[in-house]
């Protein structure tokens, strides 16, 4: 398949691995930001093939995982309401709140639907004028333009039965938070390719300079990831704290200006809670005052709902690269995809889910 097979070429992968082995003179810790990259690494066993000197730690780039528990509790409450059609990406439905998830709300009679785009949710709103349609707008900068566009169009068309629960987060503030932590071990980053497709890589240049780390935007296929690891390693070995783009088929320095403009029209930067991690200043997006009538949390008066995390779940440490999923005492014991303690065990981008699905009992592989 074009644009896929080239990036899964075993020979190319082997050559890159040889080059990585040849160039690594000491131990380096590299974090891949994006949960999609984590899954590709674990699924393809790239971590098994790397030399011991290269340690990959998994980053916070799983939007479902970092959506705060209280947002989920508020979503559950809204989804259970009569006359509400609650729409969400499929991943969100299995994320546990304090006592239930959206699937359980659906089985109890809530109208909860999976959509593939927020614009589909908007169409449901057009088709069902007597219902209130709520979309769970989660994601990093990647989903922000489409989510913003849905709200923008709703405003333009005067669709008043549509609203969103916003849990939009941004990568650079999270990287700064990780690098500022006293427990930080990360020496270089693979930046999330699709986030950079929207935002470009210009905004990572000050982060690289300030924290003295190389940052390499890369893709999701094995050859992309190995090339990204090799480039990060070369920069580390040479002591260069630069941003080098290896996802050139998708990412430019300035990014997608139209998408950025759409985000800015609808959203403004806010402080935001990250599930398991805590408050990261300036790391989130919220609706601008002009669009606040589309804020589902206000519309349904659930802003007072608060919730606290299970103390057993260590997903905060996992999301910051401090703890590997299988080093968590609850991993594959109290915490499984069927009975998750945290979102990292159920999201298709969660590191704990990747380890559980592809690596559990790794000693027997």
């Amino acid at each position: 398949m074009k644009y896929i097979d080239e990036y899964r070429d075993p020979l190319l992968a082997r050559n890159l691995l040889e080059e990585i082995k040849r160039k690594a003179t000491r131990h380096w810790t590299i974090m891949e930001i994006c949960g999609g990259q984590t899954h590709s690494i674990i699924r393809n066993g790239i971590d098994q093939l790397l030399p011991d000197s290269i340690e990959l730690v998994h980053g916070p780039g799983c939007p479902v995982c970092v959506t705060p528990l209280e947002s989920i509790e508020r979503a559950l409450l809204i989804a259970a309401k009569k006359d509400v059609i609650f729409t969400s990406f499929g991943d969100m439905l299995r994320v546990p709140g304090c006592s239930k998830d959206l699937f359980m709300v659906r089985s109890e009679g809530g109208d909860v639907r999976i959509v593939f785009s927020p614009l589909d949710a908007l169409q449901i709103a057009r088709d069902n004028p007597l219902k209130e349609i709520v979309f769970f707008a989660v994601g990093f900068e990647t989903t922000a333009p489409a989510n913003a566009m849905a709200v923008y169009q709703a405003a333009r068309e005067g669709i008043e039965n549509f609203s969103v629960i916003v849990s939009q987060v941004m990568v650079p503030p999270a990287m700064c938070a990780i690098l500022s932590s006293p427990d930080n071990r990360v020496q270089g980053f693979l930046a999330a390719g699709h986030v950079c497709a929207i935002m470009g890589y210009e905004e990572y240049e000050p982060v690289a300079r300030e924290f003295n780390v190389p940052i390499v935007p890369t893709g999701f296929e094995p050859v992309d990831l190995l090339a990204g690891i090799l480039k990060t390693l070369e920069l580390l070995e040479e002591g260069r704290s630069e941003v080098v783009n290896l996802y050139r088929r998708v990412v430019s320095r300035e990014g997608n200006r139209f998408a950025q403009e759409t985000i800015r029209k609808v959203f403004e930067v806010r402080d935001r809670q990250w599930r398991g991690i805590g408050l990261i200043p300036g790391s989130g997006l919220g609706l601008r005052p002009d669009f606040s009538r589309f804020d589902a949390e206000k519309k349904f008066n659930v802003t007072h709902i608060c919730a606290s995390e299970s103390p057993q779940c260590k997903s905060g440490s996992v999301l910051q690269g401090i703890l590997k999923p299988d080093a968590c005492p609850a991993f594959a014991r109290e915490c499984t995809p069927e009975h998750p303690l945290g979102a990292t065990m159920v999201s298709s981008e969660g590191a704990c889910a990747a380890y559980y699905n592809y690596h559990r009992n790794a000693y027997s592989l």
């Binding site: 398949m1 066993g45 299995r94 959509v115």
Partner: protein, 347 residues
């Protein structure tokens, strides 16, 4: 001139299913005579008794049942009717049985098109004929609009188990070869890409087929096959996990050997789905002693439903209960059961 007030005659010609079609009265008879009997009639059904009286050949009997709720009812490569016949035929055949008789029960939603119903019944008749089975008894119920979705069909089947054949999920032995009859994921992706809300077009068609013909030929040639399954819901991954678990052995498969059609692969890539987790309706997984594998492959490849048959892996003593895949890069990963329902109402 005066027109005498008259009680209007009941309307007997309908284009859609009415509640009265399931009430046992005149409309029920009309439905029987106009839609079901012209296509399904045979010496058992023609008696219109409440039961079929069967004489079964000597030996062990296999008995199975399944209910079909696929949505949409008509999908690329088939419809719910042929799925309901082929699915039950396959469930009998993978147990080493020669499928003989089927029953069928319809739950129809008020307002469902009678033309569509007749098309489905015709497909069932033709699928039954192709598979060499007879539909000997049936039932129809009608429920109100919104109380079911268009049409649900149950089929049960009876067959006679071949002499000298002992197929079981518990039979796997170290060194056995795992054979797959062809490409994976065709049915599931045909359904998925024809669902509303997924606005992309593809040419993927379901692999829905009766496999008893091919299975018969394989068992004639190699009766000592250890296990056989049709990898429907949960796909090949679920089937292999069930086999590994039941026999307390490990299974190792090679990523490079799994056949996937380019369209199916593309759709899976777009939707982020592993083709090994996607349902099939005309594929077979066989576990055979290594020294018989070539014979089995040759018999299968000579059959239209087994042309792409291939060895995908083997049974090992390591990691009992677990399926492990060797990736194209030489690393290894677990192939797990899919979690939850990937797509509801796939069959």
């Amino acid at each position: 001139m005066t027109i005498a007030p008259a009680c209007p005659l009941p309307l007997m010609q309908h284009e859609t299913v009415q509640m009265a079609h399931g009430a046992g009265g005149r409309l029920s008879q009309t439905l029987m005579q106009r839609v079901f009997m012209p296509h399904l009639h045979n010496s058992f059904l023609d008696l219109l008794d409440d039961q079929a009286k069967l004489e079964l050949p000597a030996g062990r009997t296999a008995f199975t049942t399944d209910t079909y709720v696929v949505s949409p009812v008509f999908f690329p490569g088939g419809n719910i009717g042929e799925l309901a016949v082929n699915g039950t035929v396959n469930d009998l055949a993978v147990g080493g049985a020669i499928p003989l008789y089927l029953s069928t029960g319809f739950v129809l939603e008020e307002g469902f098109s009678l033309v569509a119903l007749e098309t489905i019944v015709m497909s069932m008749a033709s699928a039954a004929q192709n598979a060499g089975v007879i539909i000997v008894t049936g039932d129809t119920k009608v429920v109100g609009k919104g109380q079911c979705d268009s049409i649900f069909i149950n089929t049960s089947g009876i067959g006679t188990i071949r002499e000298g054949v002992n197929l079981s999920c518990c039979n796997l032995k170290k060194g056995d070869c795992i054979i797959l009859s062809g490409t994976v994921g065709d049915h599931g992706m045909a359904i998925m890409t024809s669902r509303e809300g997924l606005s992309f077009q593809s040419h993927i068609t379901s692999d829905c087929a009766a496999l008893n013909g091919m299975i018969g030929k394989v068992l004639d040639a190699v009766p000592m096959i250890h296990a056989m399954r049709d990898p429907t819901r949960g796909g090949v991954a679920a089937t292999l996990n069930e086999l590994a678990h039941s026999s307390s052995v490990g299974i190792e498969i090679n990523e490079t050997s799994i056949p996937v059609k380019p369209d199916v692969r593309g759709a899976c890539e777009l939707l982020g789905i592993d083709p090994l987790h996607v349902a099939n309706e005309g594929k077979l997984v066989l576990v055979v002693p290594a020294d018989c594998s070539e014979t089995v492959l040759n018999v299968m490849r000579a059959h239209e439903h087994g042309r792409d048959a291939v060895i995908i892996g083997s049974v090992v003593n390591d990691h009992p209960g677990m399926v492990v895949m060797r990736t194209v890069f030489g690393s290894r990963r677990i192939v797990d059961l899919p979690l939850g329902e990937q797509l509801p109402r796939i069959c």
